[in-house]
Structure formats: structure tokens, C-alpha cells
């Protein structure tokens, strides 16, 4: 597992080194997202209404944090669920499967560096804005949010691994990721309260880890004794989800792997 994570970590590092444009895009992304959402928001209301509805003090700051959560979630889903697809397109999948690593371990460990890397880059990118609005205490909260995001990425890793293993056997590959990313973001309430969603989707949202990361981010930004207890509840839920989803993924990939080998992997 460590060998895979190490290889993926260095591949990510080399990729960034050789793709400065990508790094710039990752840094700018939260700001572009906030500008877009704010721009649209001004058409229908005001930052005050938004702050009241979301239950946050500083809407800009919240949206920046939410963008970090969204960016990290999208990246992890894209990277892990798209791992099979991406490597198939490049022609590297067969060579990765030819190493003596078992597929379930490979798919789970391959996403770990991205789970750490992507939030680190986006969190760093919003640091200047947080420092400007909230000072040093905001920065401490942001670091706290970073660790919560990482905790939230673990169960998301499990969901993505299940999607990745499905891509080993189905042909309509990209459709899985194309529908998974918007759906998870829709029900996670990154930029709006989950309460405005239809009841059925609210129920689904309870099983989506990103929702709890957003909840935790809100609680951190208004940290007090009461919210502290609530925060721990959210963290427990995330940890439980992390174990459950990854265990399910491990078992699922094992079954799919045998099927994929019988069918042949291109």
C-alpha cells in the first residue's frame, strides 16, 4: 500500500512540476468559484440573506471554505473514480495491473496522495483571503477545516473506489463519473443549505460524506462549547463512514476484479 501511495504521490508531484498551468488553475479555482456564486447571488438576493440562510457569519469566507471542500471532493472523485478510465486512456492501466499489487489495494491506495494533496493546495490558495477577513484565528480554523476535509475524503475515497472498479467492467465509462460528481455536490449542500432540497434528496444527503464536511466547516467557523460537541458528532459520523465505505469498496473491488480479468482489461 505504501509503495502505491508513494508512487502516486511522486507522480502527482512530477505532474505539477511539469504542468505549472494546472497548479495556477488549482490555486485560482476557489476564487473563481466564489466570484461566480457571488455574481449569481447578487442577481437574486444579497450576501446578508445568504449568510442568514446558511447560518454563517462571513459569506465570502464560508464560500471560500465551501469551494475548498467542493474542489477537494471533485478532485478525489475525478482522480480515484477516474483512475481506471484515465489509465485506460493512457494505456497505463495494463502495466499498473501487471505489477504484483492486488487490485483492491491498488485502487484504494492510489487515491491517498490526492486526498492529502488536493485539499492542501486549495487550502493554501484561500489562506490570504482568510488572513485578510479573519486574522490568525481564521487561519487556525482553516487548518482545522483542512483536517476535517481529509477525514471527509476517506469515505469519499471508498465511494470513488467502487465507481473506479465499475469502470473496469462497464463500457459507458465516463457516464459514471459525469453523473457521480454533480450528484454528490448537489446533495452535499456545499453552497446552499441541504434543507432547501426535496425530502428524498435530504435523506440521500445523510449518506454523503461531503455534507458532513460542510457541516463541520460551518461549526468550526462558529466554534463554541455547544458547537464543539456537535462537531465531534459530525467527525464520528465521518470516521464511521470512512470505515464502512472503504470496507465495502475493498469487498466490491475483489469481486469486480475477478469479473474484469475474465472479460479482459483494455
Amino acid at each position: 500500500m505504501i509503495d502505491i501511495a508513494r508512487a502516486e504521490f511522486f507522480a502527482n508531484l512530477y505532474w505539477m512540476k511539469n504542468n505549472k498551468g494546472l497548479l495556477v488553475a488549482m490555486v485560482l479555482w476557489p476564487y473563481i468559484m466564489v466570484a461566480l456564486v457571488m455574481g449569481l447571488g447578487y442577481i437574486f438576493g444579497s450576501p446578508e440573506i445568504y449568510a442568514a440562510r446558511m447560518g454563517v457569519r462571513n459569506p465570502v469566507l464560508f464560500m471560500l471554505s465551501a469551494s475548498v471542500v467542493a474542489m477537494s471532493s471533485v478532485t478525489i472523485i475525478d482522480t480515484v473514480a477516474g483512475y481506471t478510465l484515465y489509465n485506460r486512456w493512457l494505456g497505463t492501466l495494463n502495466y499498473i495491473l501487471l505489477t504484483p499489487i492486488r487490485t483492491p489495494r491498488l485502487l484504494i491506495a492510489a487515491g491517498l496522495p490526492t486526498a492529502l494533496f488536493s485539499p492542501a493546495v486549495t487550502v493554501s490558495s484561500v489562506m490570504p483571503a482568510v488572513l485578510y477577513f479573519e486574522g490568525l484565528s481564521g487561519l487556525v480554523n482553516l487548518v482545522l477545516i483542512y483536517f476535517i476535509i481529509i477525514l471527509g475524503m476517506v469515505p469519499l475515497l471508498g465511494i470513488s473506489v467502487i465507481a473506479a472498479s465499475l469502470l473496469l467492467i462497464v463500457k459507458e465509462e465516463s457516464n459514471i463519473i459525469n453523473s457521480l460528481v454533480p450528484f454528490l455536490l448537489l446533495v452535499s449542500g456545499v453552497f446552499y443549505p441541504v434543507g432547501i432540497l426535496p425530502h428524498a434528496l435530504q435523506l440521500v444527503a445523510r449518506a454523503v460524506p461531503v455534507k458532513y464536511v460542510v457541516d463541520a466547516a460551518k461549526l468550526v467557523s462558529a466554534l463554541s462549547t455547544e458547537t464543539g460537541a456537535a462537531l465531534f458528532t459530525v467527525l464520528y459520523i465521518l470516521a464511521l463512514m470512512g470505515v464502512t465505505y472503504n470496507l465495502a469498496a475493498f469487498l466490491f473491488v475483489g469481486r469486480v476484479d475477478a469479473k474484469a480479468k475474465a472479460k479482459g482489461v483494455d
Binding site: 509503495d3 511522486f10 494505456g91 504484483p100 480479468k261 479482459g264 482489461v265
Partner: protein, 345 residues
């Protein structure tokens, strides 16, 4: 090392495909890619699996590499079963499936090798030493290509890097699927020399698939001809050539406008000459018909072929009675349904 490096026994593989019948209806079709393929590869030899496109070469390679499970039969690599010990098999093979892709475009050759070496558990100075070694062996270090981005590589450099990756963990067995496909002649020659060196000097077992007869004849110690999922003949090039003893290859080069497909021209020639051991291919500036004729009948067949081709609107450029080659064996065994002296299935 004792025993066979690779031993395939009765490999059968069926693929399920779905043919569309109308908008909603699909019909299940079963394609039998391998129909009981058996052969073995010994240590220190270059073994060629020769066959036309769709004959089952890649399927065989994938099964031996543990990327595909057979529906029946088994294969053993260095004594390990591909069904029961896939991890041990993967540890002992270096595989090249395609020379033109299979690497990360935005990483340099060296970075790509580092990635795959790490996946194999190599680390520290050992990792760098091994990467330097393989880069030197395949000549990428000398070409100063190691630190170029993969997207800037020529096809020849890509082929070298693919071989370098296959050798990273110093496997005793190399399996290469069409390793010279698309390479320019100098690169192809260097690749062949490298493979022969691996077998002769280092005692590795090298298995290559190809549909290039010239290549197979040049580098392979033994060749298996695979056709329609069966081994049609197996043996050394000399042994295989004996299969066409008493037959003479007549080579007719011709040019002209191809009104029909090449296979239609081949079919018409076969039909009118009443000879099944015949192959038409496209060559520089025209076409070549290679016809295996019973000794003594050459003159009659040549005259008849010229008549037929002229009648079809072609100009005959040259006629030659050649020495039997592996290509003739290939034409003979694949046209008569695998009746080889040492056929294997």
C-alpha cells in the same frame, strides 16, 4: 533454471460480444479466440508467436501475463500457474503490450520509470541504479532522452522506454506483443538485437508476437504459427521450412488500379488458379502475390497468373521463383487448416 520458462496447455478463451439488431434488441455472440493453444518456451530462447491479425496472439499474451483468465486450460510461468499464483507470475515477467502508448505524457521518461519502479517496491539508491541501468541498456541514456517529456518522444524512443520498463525489476522472462510495430527500420533492428542479446547473453526467455515473417525468421529460435485460435505449426525455422518441401514459392509483383479489395483479388486468383496456398499483399508501388506451387508446375502457374492478372487490368512487373521462407510456411499451414508436421493442437 530448470523446466520450461513458459508452458501453455490447452488454452481456451471465448469472448461474448453483442451484435445490435434494431434499436433495442441485441444478440449475444460468442467468439472463440483461442481453441486449445499449447506450447512451451524454454530458457535462453527467443520464441515467436506468429499469426495474422485476430489470430489470438494478443489473447495468448494477456493470459500468460495474468491480465486475462482463460475459460479452459492453464499456463505456467517459471513454474507458477497464471490461475493460482498470478502475483508470483507478475514478479517474473516483463511485458510490452504496445510500444506507442502506456506512459504518462506529462512525465519524463525517467519519472515514468520511477513511478513503475516504485509500484514494484523498488526504492532509494537501488531504484535510481536500476533505472540508470535499463536506460543505458535500451540506449535512451545515450540518446539523452531520459529527461525529456514522454510527449516529446519519437516512436523509436517510446519503444525503448517500453522495453526499459519491462526490464526494471530484472525479470527472467520477457513477453512482447508486436514490439517493432510501426518502428522505422533502424529502430526495429536495434530492438531485435536487444531482444536476441537478452536471450543469448542473459539467458532470459523472450517471447514475441509478430506478423512480420522476416522478423520471426531473423530472431526467433523457434516459432509457433497461430491461426484462428489454434497453433497450426511449431518448431525451428528450419523444421518449419521442411513443411513446404516439394513446393516452390512463385512471387508475382504487379501494379494497377485496385477496383476491388485486396482480399477479393486474392480470392479470385485462388479460385481461377485452383490453388489455396496463395497470399496477396500490398508492397511498395504495387502488389505482390506469393503462390506456393508444387515443384515442376511453376512455369504453367506463372503463365496462368500473368493471364489472369492482365485480364483483371493489372500490369505484371516481375515474376520470380524464390527460396522457401517462413512466409511460405505461414501461407501453407494457415491455408490448409493447421496440418503441420509438428502441429500442436
Amino acid at each position: 533454471m530448470s523446466g520450461a520458462a513458459i508452458k501453455a496447455e490447452g488454452l481456451v478463451k471465448r469472448y461474448v460480444t453483442w451484435a445490435r439488431r434494431g434499436f433495442f434488441r441485441k444478440e449475444k455472440q460468442i467468439v472463440e479466440a483461442l481453441k486449445g493453444v499449447s506450447f512451451d518456451v524454454v530458457w535462453g530462447e527467443v520464441f515467436g508467436l506468429l499469426g495474422p491479425n485476430g489470430a489470438g496472439k494478443t489473447t495468448t499474451v494477456k493470459i500468460i501475463s495474468t491480465l486475462l483468465l482463460p475459460d479452459d486450460g492453464n499456463a505456467w510461468v517459471a513454474g507458477y500457474s497464471v490461475l493460482d499464483n498470478p502475483v508470483e507470475v507478475r514478479d517474473r515477467i516483463g511485458v510490452v503490450l504496445s510500444v506507442e502508448r502506456g506512459f504518462f505524457w506529462k512525465l519524463t521518461g525517467r519519472e515514468n520509470l520511477r513511478y513503475f519502479a516504485m509500484l514494484r517496491g523498488l526504492r532509494g539508491p537501488e531504484l535510481e541504479r536500476r533505472i540508470d541501468e535499463v536506460l543505458e541498456t535500451v540506449g535512451l541514456k545515450q540518446l539523452k532522452g531520459a529527461d525529456k517529456l514522454y510527449e516529446e518522444y519519437s516512436l523509436g524512443m517510446k519503444a525503448r522506454l517500453a522495453l526499459a520498463r519491462a526490464m526494471l525489476h530484472d525479470p527472467p522472462i520477457l513477453i512482447l506483443d508486436e514490439p517493432t510495430l510501426g518502428l522505422d527500420p533502424p529502430s526495429a533492428r536495434e530492438m531485435r538485437e536487444l531482444l536476441v542479446r537478452m536471450a543469448r547473453r542473459e539467458g532470459k526467455a523472450v517471447m514475441v508476437t509478430t506478423h512480420n515473417m522476416f522478423e520471426a525468421e531473423m530472431i526467433c529460435d523457434r516459432v509457433a504459427i497461430i491461426s484462428e485460435g489454434r497453433i497450426a505449426a511449431i518448431g525451428t525455422v528450419l523444421e518449419l521450412k521442411k513443411l513446404v518441401a516439394g513446393e516452390v514459392p512463385v512471387v508475382v509483383k504487379f501494379s494497377g488500379m485496385l477496383g476491388d479489395s485486396l482480399s477479393r483479388v486474392e480470392e479470385r486468383l485462388k479460385h481461377r488458379l485452383e490453388i489455396s496456398k496463395l497470399h496477396v499483399s500490398e508492397t511498395d508501388g504495387g502488389f505482390t502475390a506469393r503462390i506456393l506451387v508444387e515443384a515442376g508446375l511453376e512455369e504453367r502457374v506463372v503463365a496462368r497468373t500473368i493471364d489472369i492478372l492482365t485480364g483483371m487490368g493489372f500490369s505484371v512487373l516481375r515474376v520470380e521463383v524464390a527460396e522457401p521462407s517462413l512466409e511460405d510456411v505461414f501461407i501453407a499451414v494457415t491455408r490448409r487448416g493447421g496440418q503441420g508436421a509438428s502441429k500442436d493442437d
